[in-house]
Each structure stands twice: as structure tokens, then as C-alpha cells.
Amino acid sequence: MRRAILHRLAQAVMVALLVGVLTFLMMQSLPGDMAFRIAAGRYGYDNVNAQAAEAVRQELGLDRPAIAAFGSWLWDLMRLDFGTSVISGAPVMTEIRHQLGASLQLAGAALALSLVIGPPIGILAGLRAGGLLDRVLLVLSTALRSVPQFLMGLVLIVLLSIQLGWLPAAGHGRAEHFILPALTLALGLAAVSARVARDAMARVAGSPHYAFGRWKGLSEAQMLRRHGLRNIGVAMVTYLGLQFAMLVEGVVVIEAIFGWPGIGHALVHAIFGRDVPMVQGTALLLGLGFVLLNALVDLAARWIDPRAGGVGT
């Protein structure tokens, strides 16, 4: 266990360094004058002129060599200081906490909703592999997965918000604002998680130990509870980790459509505005987030998997 944790920690340090170096190099290689871009980000492009850019250059010390800037970023990072946004002047951590928080809430809601929709239907289909529900599910999940998320978002807004008037079309701040963006993300995720659950269930349901259970006279519900769910759990948890990576990609698109103040939105604007501390901080936290997630998925899979001596054995 200790070895696994040390391994993950070393991985986290490597990711931090790599993300830092890469984002720094990428930001440096972008064309154009950084002071002008930052001034445009701060004051709007109507108000960008050489004077404003010069003021920004002086204020932020943009004339110093790039390597010195990187060195000071690394030194600050070692003291867990992420710096301040050059656009808003607020501490990067405060900005990220707000924006990442909004993204995580949305991603969490989407994941929960997808778990409510996808696996139960998948399990039902898997229990009767080849049945009507199974065939309908195949068509439906293929269709849902192949629709781009921005299109799905627009279709849901037109249907649920404009035609039926049930939900707000976009926005942020109230509980009901979660539902449409979360549902947009969840449908895509559920389309796949239903298939994963269906395949795992079909495999388990066709296995000799399942047949033995039936032969013992256990009911379908008892069978599922005792022998089914734990076995498909490993596949589901591993897939959940993957889903999270897909979510990050989807969240960026969905935030733009629904006017959601998330990390995708923040990252895009930070790149446009040449807000290097924000880009570095955001990329770093996303990178570390993936390391943490992988670690958690590994641990959860070990814990659940009966073959690895997990819970309940």
C-alpha cells in the first residue's frame, strides 16, 4: 500500500513539473506581444493602445527574461503560492476554487445522473441479452453517443426549455440551472455506461457460477444482489475513471453553451488573455486531478474486486 502511495506521489510531482514546463513553453511560443494581450484581456480591445500595454509591461515586469519568470513561478509553487491572475488581479487559487468548483459540481451532477440512467438500463438489458430491451438499447446508445454534445445541448434547450418551458435555457446560480447541462453530459455518458454494464452483466449472467446460483433456487433479485452487482462493479468503477476524462472534455463545450462559469471557460479565456499564472494553475490542478482520480480508481477497483482480496471475501 505504501509503495502504491509513494508511486502516485512521485507521479504527481512529475506531472506538476511537466505541466509547468509545457504550459510555460506553450505560452511563450504563442505569437504576439504579451503586454498587449493582457491589456486587451483587462480593458477590452476598444481600449488597448501602446500606453496601456506599456503600463501593463511595467507593472508585471514582462521585460525580464523568460527563464527568470519560470524560475519564480517554480519557487512560488514550492511554497504552494499559485500567484495572482494578471487579468483580474485576484489570487489564482481563489479564481480556480470558484471556477473548478462550478465545473466539479456540474461534472458530479452529470456523473450521478448518468449512473442513475445508464447502468440500471444496462443491467436489465444484460440480464436478457439479445432481448428487445437489449436491441433497443444498442440503437439508442449508439445514437446518443454519436450526437455531438453541443448539438445535444441545443436540442435539449429547444425541447425542454423553449417548447415545454420546464427548465431555464441557460444560466447559473439556482438549483434548476444544473439540470439541462448535467442531463446533456449525462446522456452521452449513460449511453456508454449502459453498454459497459450490459456487457459485464451479460458475461456474468452467462457464467457457470450464475447458472449454479439459479440451480440452487435463488430468485433473480437475489442472484443479482449476491453475484451480479459486485462482479460488474469492477468494470463500472474502472470505466468511471475514464468517464471523468471524457467529462472534462465535454464540460468545456457545455459550459460555453449554457453560460456556466467553469474551468473550461476560465482556461480558454486565460489563454486568450495570456494570463500565464491562471493557465499554469488550472493546467496543474487538472493534471493533479487526473493523478488523484487514477489513484482512487485503482484503490476502489482493488477494494471491490473479489479476486484481489477486496471487500466481502
Partner: protein, 501 residues
């Protein structure tokens, strides 16, 4: 089965009718502008539109200056001192009193930051008894207009940190901020102690939505009462809905092509005139921008003082353009592109996608220029590249949108952009007559004939080529009355909006 039950319950929960599209007592405003923080220098355009803070001087829809936090103002005889008589009995949202000291403090902080105020010839801003006094280094007639701009918003002394950074929006407006969730949302409540009484609607919200499609959907679904900056396609769709009113006004923002006067192919005014004649403004405006017409001079009729009735309008005449270029020694090469002494008439057009119509318009212009034998390569990049390339001299030409109404008197913009050269205006172009006219006008000397002459010089010399005048469009819900679309993009008229009966 429990899973089946769970999913059924979730679906049932989703089908419960919620509050969307109903009048929830909050006046919901949607626009693309993002809240970058509490400082008027970065986000004042939103604070002024949301009636959270006020300026000393206001502007009516015709561009005339009207009393704001100052009741009246006058310059000394030598024009070097402006005295503002401030409105009595005004309080800030934190309960502190608005007075000349507070106004001087706010303006001095703003003046130290990049902005128009920084460019004005101000020596000092101070309180003198109950009056605010601005001392100048030279006469400057547009000073009151400069003080109507959003970066001159007056915030309470408690709004500023020790270094002049703004920590909180504490203004005097009829609404006060109750929640500021930068970058996308703020909520406000009517301010009971406002000097003109509280607004009719007690609660308002502002939501920044970057995508035009989403803004249109918010208007269509009824989630927002007042939606700004509609894209051309949405205007057509939303105009057909009974419960919405789509308003459109011509704003003092022009789509311009800026040219480098030092470029060998562009230094002669006739070459610039030829490029101007190659442009079918009508076609471009209707096909790409969905506006009724293009721009036949630099400023639209809504800026009555500066829109000249006497200049000859810019026209589309490719034949005449080809003839002019032939006079200048340009001859078509084997591929149809003009050449002169072995040089091709080839230019790089810099533009930016922040305004989606710009790269599209650039592509259309490229075709129009190709039609007279001029090759144009489009470089769609970051907006700041226009100013950067102006600075280092590497710019050939740029397509951009310029706001002439940052202050209602465009003299400020003319001073920085054209007298004689500036990041967003003329490049390597100098007309001593024009510069003298503009500087005189800025000092308060001269009137309509001088303005007309100045416009005529721009129209003939064409340091920039006008292409179109922008229109501001907004969708206003039938649930409210009293909204106005301000050509100066300064106010939404929030304080006078009521719920419809």
C-alpha cells in the same frame, strides 16, 4: 427492481414543472460582456448599464450631456479650470455621503489607470468646498464628456483598497450589488435611499453569456427579460415572436479598414481611394452583417454633429478603381494581380475573430480587392496585433471595429486616433490641417463647419476606409415596459423599467 425504480423516479423528477419562463420578480438581463472584477476600469461598462454606480455627467440618447451626480458645470474664461456643482443629499450604498472629496478620490484613482481620463490634459482634480474642480494644463472642451464614461464612475472611498485597487462595488446607483460572481453573474437589489427614489423593479440580475445562440434561446424561452447583442440570424427569428420586441439602433461603432500610409503601394491617397471604390458596402452589409446599408463616411447619422451632410459619399465603382491604379503605374500581371516595377500589389489584412463577422467580412473584402487586381492575404489573429503591428510598423492593413462613443463626443477618439496617428486610427498619415482642426475643436474653438471640414479630409485622404456602421440589437420581453436601447451603449434604462400590466 430497485434500479428500474430509481431511474423511473429520476425521470419523474425531471418532468416536474419548474420556474423557467415565468416572472419570478427578478429583472433578468443577458449580455456577452464579462465581469472582470469590481474595478470600473475593467468592468465599469456593466456597472453603468446595471445602474449600480453613476457618473458626474450623463448622456441622453441624442448624445447631449445631462446632469448626473453633478448638477451643472462650467469652465473658467481661460478654459483651464472646470468647476462641477455636485448634487446634494446623495448617499453611497454603504450609507456614506457623496461629496466633492469622494468624487475627487474616485476620479484620481481612475486617472492613474489606463483609460481615457489618463489621456486628458488634467493637472489636478480636487475638492473646493462643495464643488469638484478639475485643473487642466491646456483648454479641453470635451472634459465633461470624458467624465460621463464608465471608467469615470464614482465609487465610495470604502470601495478602494490602500493601493487604489477596487475591492467592492459601492456606488450611488438605484441598484446595489447583492452578489458578484465574476466572471458571469451579478445580482442587484433596488437602493431605497437613491436620490431619485428606488427603481420600480426591486431585484435585477446580470448574466454574461458568450454564445449568441444561447442568448437568443434565453430570450426565446422567456428566461431573460432583456437580451443584448443578438446575431443576425437570431434577429430574424426572434422578430417573429409575439411576446418579444426586437429593437435595433445604429451605434457609433464603425467597421473600418486601416491602412499603412508608409506602405509603397498605399502612400498615395489615390491608391487608398481605389481600394475604397472596390468595396461593395451595400452587398457586404446586407449579406454578412444583415444591416440595411453600409457606411458611406466614417460616422453614422446618430452622431449628428459629426455625420457630415456635405461630403461626397463613398461609392462602389470597380471600373474607376482600376483606372486610378493604372494611373499610378500598376499593370495586371499574368495571374491578374497588379504589378509595378516588379512589385506585386499584395497586402496582409490583419483582423481578429472576437467579433465573428470580422474574418467573414475580411474574406468578402479579399474577393472584392481581387476583382481590381489587388492580392490580399488574411491574418485572423488576436485583436491586440493591430495595435502591436501599428507600433512596430509591420502592419499593411487591418479590419477592425472602432467604438467612437466611449465618450459621447468622438473628439476624444479623433484626438488619439487621427491627430495625427494612433494605435486604432491613422498609421503613418499626417494632415496638419486635420490635426489643427481637431485640436482647436478639443479646445472648444470651432463648430460645425470645422467638423465638416475634418470629416471631408478623412473622406478624401482615407487613412482608414469606412465599411459599415454597427447596429445594436436587443430582444425585450413583453413582460416589461420602458426599456430603451441606448445608441451610446451606456444605459439599459433599468431605473425606468416596470413590469407590464
Amino acid at each position: 427492481m430497485r434500479p428500474a425504480f430509481l431511474s423511473a423516479a429520476a425521470l419523474a423528477a425531471l418532468s416536474l414543472p419548474l420556474t423557467a419562463g415565468t416572472n419570478d420578480g427578478v429583472l433578468d438581463i443577458v449580455a456577452p460582456f464579462e465581469i472582470k472584477g469590481a474595478d470600473p476600469v475593467t468592468s465599469g461598462n456593466i456597472f453603468i448599464k446595471m445602474d449600480l454606480a453613476e457618473t458626474l455627467v450623463n448622456v441622453d440618447p441624442d448624445g447631449r450631456l445631462t446632469p448626473g451626480l453633478a448638477l451643472s458645470w462650467q469652465a473658467s474664461d481661460d478654459g483651464l479650470e472646470w468647476r462641477f456643482d455636485l448634487r446634494p443629499d446623495v448617499v453611497f450604498h454603504d450609507g456614506s455621503a457623496f461629496d466633492a472629496d469622494a468624487a475627487a478620490h474616485a476620479l484620481n484613482v481612475a486617472r492613474a489607470k489606463p483609460g481615457l481620463l489618463e489621456t486628458a490634459p488634467i493637472a489636478a482634480i480636487s475638492a473646493d468646498g462643495g464643488d469638484l474642480v478639475v485643473t487642466l494644463t491646456e483648454p479641453f472642451a470635451p472634459l465633461p464628456a470624458f467624465l460621463s464614461e464608465y471608467r469615470s464612475l464614482i465609487l465610495a472611498p470604502a470601495a478602494y483598497g490602500p493601493g487604489g485597487e477596487v475591492t467592492e462595488v459601492i456606488g450611488t446607483g438605484p441598484y446595489r450589488v447583492t452578489r458578484l460572481d465574476a466572471p458571469l453573474r451579478l445580482e442587484a437589489q433596488g437602493f431605497a435611499d437613491h436620490w431619485d427614489g428606488p427603481p420600480f423593479i426591486d431585484r435585477a440580475s446580470y448574466q454574461s453569456v458568450g454564445r449568441a445562440e444561447t442568448r437568443a434561446l434565453l430570450a426565446e424561452s422567456g428566461d431573460a427579460d432583456y437580451v443584448f447583442n443578438l446575431d443576425p440570424a437570431s434577429v430574424a427569428r426572434l422578430s417573429g415572436l409575439d411576446r418579444l420586441e426586437v429593437q435595433s439602433v445604429s451605434v457609433p461603432r464603425s467597421l473600418l479598414i486601416k491602412l499603412n500610409g508608409d506602405h509603397p503601394a498605399l502612400s498615395d491617397a489615390r491608391a487608398r481611394q481605389a481600394l475604397s471604390m472596390a468595396i461593395d458596402r451595400e452587398g457586404l452589409a446586407q449579406a454578412i452583417l444583415r444591416y440595411p446599408a453600409g457606411a458611406d463616411q466614417i460616422l453614422p447619422p446618430s452622431l449628428a454633429d459629426w455625420h457630415s451632410e456635405t461630403v461626397a459619399p463613398l461609392t462602389h465603382d470597380p471600373e474607376a478603381a482600376r483606372a486610378l491604379l493604372a494611373d499610378l503605374g500598376w499593370q495586371p500581371g499574368p495571374d491578374g494581380i497588379l504589378t509595378r516595377d516588379g512589385d506585386r500589389f499584395s497586402l496582409v489584412l490583419t483582423t481578429y475573430p472576437d467579433r465573428p463577422e470580422l474574418p467573414l467580412s475580411a474574406a468578402v473584402l479579399q474577393q472584392m480587392f481581387a476583382d481590381i487586381g489587388v492580392e490580399v492575404v488574411i491574418d485572423s489573429t488576436n485583436s491586440s496585433e493591430v495595435a502591436v503591428r501599428h507600433g512596430d510598423g509591420s502592419l499593411d492593413m487591418a479590419l477592425f471595429a472602432r467604438n467612437f462613443a466611449l465618450v459621447p463626443d468622438p473628439i476624444g477618439t479623433f484626438l488619439t486616433d487621427y491627430a495625427p496617428t494612433g494605435d486604432w486610427g491613422a498609421m503613418n498619415w499626417d494632415s496638419p490641417e486635420f490635426t489643427a482642426l481637431i485640436r482647436d475643436l478639443a479646445r472648444g474653438e470651432g463648430g460645425q463647419p470645422e467638423r465638416d471640414r475634418a470629416i471631408e479630409i478623412l473622406q478624401t485622404e482615407l487613412p482608414v476606409i469606412p465599411v459599415a456602421w454597427y447596429q445594436q440589437t436587443a430582444a425585450i420581453s413583453g413582460a416589461i415596459t420602458g426599456a430603451v436601447v441606448d445608441p451610446f451603449e451606456r444605459t439599459l434604462g433599468l431605473r425606468s423599467i416596470r413590469w407590464a400590466e
